[in-house]
């Protein structure tokens, strides 16, 4: 089953403890890092943990996850492609 972008955004907000941000404030294609939400390399690591905990996707090299962290939509696509079959 494909994951919903709203659900994923909620997971991002929860795992990064983002304050004063709701899923609807994160545009599907807006960059998560740098100028977008202002996230940094430690947030990327928190997202790695979030991916493993919620979707069973293990990332051992941060470079591997880098394209996925471009935007919420890119992350959803990454999860759908990599998610272990249930």
């Amino acid at each position: 089953m494909e994951i919903s972008l709203t659900e994923l955004k909620a997971k991002i907000i929860e795992s990064l403890k983002l304050q004063d941000i709701t899923p609807d404030k994160i545009a599907d294609d807006a960059p998560l890092f740098g100028e977008g939400l202002g996230l940094d390399s430690i947030d990327a690591l928190e997202l790695v943990v979030m991916l493993e905990k919620n979707y069973g996707i293990v990332i051992k090299d941060i470079e591997e996850g880098r394209p996925a962290f471009r935007s919420a939509r890119a992350l959803a696509d990454f999860i759908n492609a990599r998610r272990p079959a249930a």
């Binding site: 990064l16 430690i42 790695v48």
Partner: protein
């Protein structure tokens, strides 16, 4: 003054690649790495990857059964350093001290306390006695009879190098004739899980500067140098192995874990060390790089090297694959590698390197070889962007090192969080306990902090951030140094990280908690917040942590390495401090736990327009047991003009064991002065905690301002360290 040059007369080292200098050098010349699969503890997730674990039995090496694993590594190195320098420490009295770097202190052992608590609900308080970073220092000082300055610095991976640099300043300024200086750190689940959670560990073992490098290898060890003033070393006909001619420290003020991408802070620290040594870059014959093997460190370090040396980069090697990255010990281990390189005129290789990375463009030394060496440089960089660089020179060169003379400083601002008013404590300890009265500072007003600081930093760090902002009047942050001490550090972040690690068998780690758990997180975050790029330090010395931060700050200002300095200390009340104290029956009606942060802004008097007060003396040492009030009075009056002392402000009204000690010094000082010196206290206001003397300092400043009187701040630590600080109009 020339005779105060620091020289090295003894070495002690214990690492995965050998015990003692000769064994270590044999491993280096044979290219034998000490990395082997981990056996010290079980790692359910990461397994037995290559690690610099010391597999020898520490008891067989002669370490008494005492303290934590870190303590024993430090003790072994100190014992061998003393033996090799053939000193008789009895002759030194208050003139010999000890200064070690530590990043996790007794964590390996206190983890067992936490594991038992989480998995079995049992509380074994004994290991927590050795949890603090200063534990090894106190033990070594007591065991070998060192009554001079004793201090631990916890600036993560640069600790060992910063400890050696600060020890050199203590010697050059005349505060000590001899210092045991270095670092000790054992492997621990904390750092193991931490670096894994940051995806910074190379499962194939570290490959510094290699094109395929994929991270670091953890290690452990102890390394201690005997650093002496040249004049006293010559008097006793000591064998001078080498000289420490330059040292420099800086802060990236960029990120809590990642280095500045252009290596800006690394460059500043190297330049500062060269300036101190009076040398040009071209004088350096070899560089022992920090070279951890992570993608980012090695790239940033190579950029800094290119900026400093241009096309003529001296031979470079990282020796991390021999030892693993022994964190706080690593700067001291590599200092010894540099000293031996000078003595033997041999360049150590960089194991793990096979292919040049075009982005780095530097090919390190690939095989051990002979070379004429006169001056060599050792780099150490750490979390929080903390950088420290040392320059060692052959024993027979004439040093050009700039002298260090401590000068009075002006207090230009004061930021205070606390004191909390005593109230029944609502923190629930892990074990049921009676009601405790505590000085809790309550909820912090974090509205001025930025969103990242609010969501990412712990309450302890936030206390330091707010106090620092209140103390600071921004002028050229490039030349601002920050030293924020802490006794217990970020215990709640460390415990949260470990609890999660233990209860989930290393699954779902908490990467954001790990960098917050290091003792220099408050100092590092303050530097990032203010853009402070000069020295950054986190002394962790029990009840005198603040005074040590003050000493380091004054030393930076006096040497013109900073134009402005922030000196402070922070400690937090949490369920661990509360329940460990309760287990040791510390908390009573009089001895109430407290917390708080105080940061003082300091400047040279000539550049301070309307100073609040001046600090004219800061002195560090250890008291005799049994306590000798007459000796204390001699020690104080040797540095302070008693005629100008109106008030003794002491750390009494806290721990009952120290009460008679303070009272006897108050009486002896009055007797010596021939008049009544008023004895005041502050712990009845703020409670008992390791940073309480920082609050005492704020009380002293207010007394000086309101009554124009000279205030002597006198602090004793339960484990033997002491400090005196004189605040005047």
């Amino acid at each position: 003054m020339a005779s105060r040059f620091p020289v090295i007369t003894g070495l002690g080292i214990v690492t995965a690649a050998g015990f003692g200098v000769d064994e270590v050098w044999r491993s280096i010349t044979h290219g034998e790495s000490g990395l082997k699969p981990l056996t010290l503890f079980e790692s359910p997730r990461y397994g037995q990857i290559l690690t610099g674990e010391i597999r020898r039995d520490l008891s067989e090496l002669g370490a008494p059964l005492h303290g934590s694993r870190s303590d024993r590594l430090g003790w072994l190195a100190a014992r061998d350093a003393i033996a090799s320098s053939r000193i008789d420490l009895q002759n030194y009295g208050d003139r010999a001290g000890v200064l070690l770097g530590s990043s996790v202190g007794g964590s390996f052992d206190s983890e067992r306390f936490l594991t038992a608590l989480i998995k079995r609900g049992r509380m074994r308080a004994r290991p927590t006695r050795f949890h603090e970073c200063v534990s090894a220092v106190d033990w070594i000082a007591d065991e070998f009879g060192l009554f001079g300055p004793s201090m631990a610095v916890a600036t993560a991976c640069s600790s060992g190098a910063l400890a050696i640099a600060t020890a050199a300043e203590l010697i050059m300024s005349g505060e000590a004739d001899l210092m045991l200086a270095g670092g000790a750190d054992s492997l621990s689940r904390m750092t193991w899980g931490g670096f894994h959670s940051l995806l910074l560990v190379d499962t194939a073992g570290c490959r510094p500067f290699d094109a395929k490098r994929a991270g670091m290898s953890l290690g452990e060890g102890g390394a201690v140098l005997v650093l002496e003033a040249e004049e006293t070393a010559r008097q006793r006909n000591a064998n001078i192995l080498a000289r420490l001619t330059g040292w420099g420290a800086s802060c990236d003020a960029y990120h809590s874990t990642a280095p500045h991408p252009e290596g800006a802070g690394a460059l500043t620290a190297m330049q500062s060390a060269l300036r101190r040594a009076g040398l040009e870059p071209s004088a350096i014959d070899y560089i022992n790089a920090h070279g951890t093997g992570t993608r980012d460190n090695d790239l940033a370090e190579s950029k800094a090297l290119r900026q400093l040396f241009g096309e003529r980069i001296p031979p470079v090697s990282s020796t991390k694959r021999f030892f693993g990255h022994a964190l706080a010990a690593s700067g001291a281990i590599e200092a010894i590698v540099c000293i031996e390189a000078l003595r033997r005129q041999e360049v150590p290789p960089n194991p793990g390197f096979t292919a040049l990375d075009p982005a780095i463009g530097i090919e390190p030394v690939t095989s051990h070889r002979r070379a004429p060496l006169t001056h060599v440089m050792s780099n150490s960089f750490g979390f929080g962007g903390n950088n420290a660089v040392l320059i060692f020179s052959r024993a027979d060169v004439t040093p050009l090192t700039r002298p260090v003379q401590l000068k009075p400083v002006a207090i230009t601002g004061l930021g205070v969080i606390g004191p909390g008013t005593a109230a029944p404590c609502d923190i629930e300890p892990p074990l049921p306990a009676g009601k405790v009265l505590a000085h809790d500072c309550g909820t912090l007003d974090t509205t001025t902090l930025n969103p990242t600081q609010r969501r990412r930093t712990s309450r302890l760090i936030q206390m330091a951030l707010i106090a620092a902002r209140r103390s600071h009047h921004p002028v050229s942050p490039d030349r601002l140094s920050v030293a924020i001490g802490t006794g217990m550090g970020c215990l709640s972040s460390a415990a949260a990280f470990l609890e999660n690690l233990v209860s989930k068998d290393e699954r779902e780690p908490m990467p954001a908690q790990f960098p917050s758990s290091v003792h220099n997180a408050p100092a590092g975050q303050v530097a990032m917040d203010l853009g402070a790029r000069a020295m950054n330090s986190a002394p962790t010395v029990g009840e005198i942590s603040f005074e040590c931060a003050l000493w380091q700050s004054i030393s930076q200002l006096s040497a013109n390495e900073a134009d402005k300095a922030l000196a402070g200390s922070v400690d937090e009340l949490n369920k661990y401090v509360l329940s460990i104290g309760q287990r040791w029956r510390m908390w009573t009606e009089q001895t109430r736990p407290g917390e708080g942060a105080v940061v003082a802004g300091l400047a040279r008097p000539e550049s301070a327009t309307a100073p609040l007060a001046r600090v004219t003396v800061v002195r560090l040492g250890r008291y005799r047991r049994p306590f000798d009030a007459e000796h204390e009075t001699d020690w104080i009056t040797d540095a302070v003009d008693l005629a100008k002392v109106d008030v003794l402000l002491s750390g009494a009204k806290g721990l009952p064991a120290l009460e008679p000690l303070y009272a006897s010094v108050a009486a002896a000082l009055s007797k010596r002065a021939g008049r009544e010196i008023e004895h005041q206290t502050y712990k009845q206001l703020c409670g008992e905690f390791h940073s309480a003397s920082a609050f005492g300092f704020s009380v002293a400043v207010n007394l000086v301002r309101s009554q124009r009187r000279g205030v002597l701040l006198y602090t004793l630590a339960l484990r033997g360290a002491k400090a005196v600080c004189f605040v005047q109009p």
